[in-house]
């Protein structure tokens, strides 16, 4: 139920994001989902790609600082209250969301939201119990 995500440290300098995508493009890597968190001085780019290991390797070769984390991808029904119901289940268990970002599938009725939890194992158990649909890693990487 876990999905591998890579994160990249970026300074707030123009062109850095373009350089990352360039490196990935040259290696034939496809980006499935992405989000960029930024502060005044630096940003952290998070990516889900079709080939995590290869992406990590080529980025490191190009002197980027790369981390790997596990996140959960949840299919949220594309209707009012879809997300609220799911978050309520987590609230009761005291699980914190460190960050999240959404993307909409090309065709389909679900929005897919990527969650980074403080305690991923417990989050998965709780979500399973609540009947929330989580995507498998292979599914997300192959979207």
């Amino acid at each position: 139920m876990k999905v591998e995500q890579i994160s990249i440290f970026l300074e707030n300098k123009s062109g850095r994001l373009a350089e990352v995508t360039e490196v990935l493009a040259k290696a034939g890597i496809n980006i499935r989902a992405l989000s960029l968190a930024d502060t005044a001085d630096f940003g952290i780019l998070r990516l889900i790609v079709n080939d995590t290991e290869k992406a990590k390797a080529v980025l490191k070769e190009n002197a980027f600082t790369v981390g790997k984390t596990e996140v959960v991808a949840i299919a949220v029904p594309d209707r009012p209250g879809g997300l609220a119901g799911m978050l309520n289940a987590l609230k009761g268990e005291g699980i914190n969301v460190e960050y999240m970002y959404a993307f909409v599938q090309k065709s389909g009725e679900n929005a897919i939201i990527i969650f980074r939890f403080d305690d991923i194992e417990r989050a998965i158990t709780v979500l399973q119990k609540a009947g929330v649909r989580m995507l498998k890693g292979e599914e997300v990487h192959a979207l």
């Binding site: 995500q5 994160s7 440290f9 970026l10 300074e11 850095r16 968190a37 930024d38 502060t39 001085d41 630096f42 952290i44 998070r46 002197a63 980027f64 600082t65 790369v66 981390g67 984390t69 460190e98 960050y99 980074r116």
Partner: protein, 433 residues
């Protein structure tokens, strides 16, 4: 006016006798009272009896900052601690700070040396002096305080900072003398203009500036801005604090009080004595100190020295302005900063030693700024912004608690810091000094 005409104007031959006698005394004194010196002498095979005169000083071992650190806190003292009346502390290269102790006689010596310095700058008894150096563990404030007392000046112990109040004190009390760091003098000028004051109308006629490197062009700027005479003072806490050497109104080198602080200039690598006018490392022997006398202390400051009599009448040798350091220490807002201190902080935080770089800058009319770049390596990287900001804050806090001054910390991408021959350049000094 010359404060101690006898010592400051003595002819070289007579001075040599004074110095020789004092050297003989101090050598037997440390040999008897300071075990680390006894060991140093014995290792080198020198006995106090071998030292007949000042020309024998080259037979003696050097003392370095590490000797002080290794014997932290009081190991290098030659006096039992209960006889020490005052302790001052400055930053060390790593971990432990450098500790110095003054006996009652040492405070007298310091007062005398500082009185000579303030007088040499052009002060007259009865003048008011505004002391804008920090009071406390740093020797700047109290050194000037003791010297001013000795000289019979009216002291305004303003200490450092609080610029608006400094300017009010100046405007209302009209002191003739200002003592602070040169960059602070320029910084105050901007503030004065903002307050609607014309710096050229200030009551300050003479400035005694030191505790950080500064250039001739900065002197010109200060003099033009404040319409005052700007003189350079030199000192280091290991020797006594401020007051080791001071420029007179001719601004032709700093008079060093060689009857008490005997100077040599050596080649920093070979230790060989250099001739008049050659640039090398300044080495000082404290000829009369009691608490923590130092034999041939290597200051790490590069200077040249001249022995010619000055137009002011003093016969003491004169050292040039500091022309750099033999180590990688930088002075930021009067505080000594060693890259190794930053290294220590980083190591203690993450157990890893990322590449880092110190950048010091001084924008026109502003105080020195220290920025520390830290390369983000995998070990310290997190995908969470919160954690990265916590790391940044932690580094910042630890650094300011160790150095006593604030610094900006900037996390940068790997390979950002320029490397030459695989070694990262630790310090970039952008100040125009």
């Amino acid at each position: 006016m010359i404060w101690n005409e006898k010592m400051e104007c003595m002819d070289a031959g007579e001075m040599k006798e004074v110095q020789s006698e004092r050297l003989r005394k101090i050598v037997s004194y440390v040999y008897k009272n300071c075990p680390p010196y006894k060991t140093k002498f014995d290792t080198l095979g020198v006995r106090p009896g071998d030292i007949k005169g000042i020309e024998d000083i080259q037979k003696l071992p050097f003392t370095i900052k590490d000797d002080m650190r290794d014997s932290y806190p009081f190991g290098l003292f030659s006096t039992p601690i209960h006889k020490i009346k005052e302790i001052h502390v400055s930053s060390g290269t790593t971990g432990n700070p450098t500790v110095v102790g003054y006996t009652k006689e040492d405070i007298k010596l310091w007062s005398e040396a500082m009185a000579r310095a303030i007088c040499c700058a052009g002060a007259e008894p009865g003048d008011k002096i505004q002391i804008g150096y920090g009071y406390g563990l740093f020797t700047g404030g109290l050194g000037f305080h003791y010297g001013s007392l000795e000289m019979g000046l009216t002291i305004i112990p303003a200490s450092s900072g609080q610029t608006k109040r400094q300017l009010k004190l100046m405007t209302d009390f009209k002191p003739r003398i200002l003592a602070c760091t040169p960059s602070y003098a320029l910084y105050m000028a901007d503030e004065a203009r903002e307050m609607g004051l014309d710096p050229r109308d200030s009551s300050w006629e003479i400035g005694i500036f030191g505790a950080e490197p500064w250039s001739e062009s900065m002197r010109k700027e200060i003099e033009a801005t404040w319409n005052m005479l700007a003189t350079d003072v030199y000192g280091l806490s290991e020797i006594i604090g401020p007051g080791v050497a001071q420029e007179c109104r001719h601004k032709a080198g700093l008079h060093i009080w060689w009857d008490v602080f005997y100077p040599e200039v050596i080649h920093p690598e070979t230790g060989r004595a250099l001739g008049e006018g050659e640039v090398g490392e300044l080495v000082i022997t404290t000829l009369t100190k009691k608490g923590i006398p130092l034999i041939r202390y290597r200051t790490r400051d590069n200077v040249s020295i001249i022995y010619e009599k000055c137009r002011c009448g003093r016969t003491t040798p004169r050292i040039s302005k500091i022309k750099g350091r033999t180590d990688d220490m930088i002075v930021v807002r009067g505080i000594n900063v060693f890259p190794s201190q930053i290294e220590h902080v980083l190591l203690s935080i993450e157990g890893t030693q990322p590449h880092y770089q110190l950048i010091v800058d001084r924008k026109a009319g502003e105080l020195d700024e220290l920025e520390i770049l830290v390369e983000v390596e995998e070990k310290i990287f997190s995908d969470e912004v919160k954690k990265m900001q916590m790391l940044e804050d932690k580094i910042k806090r630890e650094i300011s608690s160790i150095l006593g001054i604030g610094a900006r910390v900037k996390l940068v991408e790997p390979k950002t810091i320029e490397r030459s021959e695989g070694k990262a350049k630790r310090v970039i000094d952008k100040r125009k000094i």
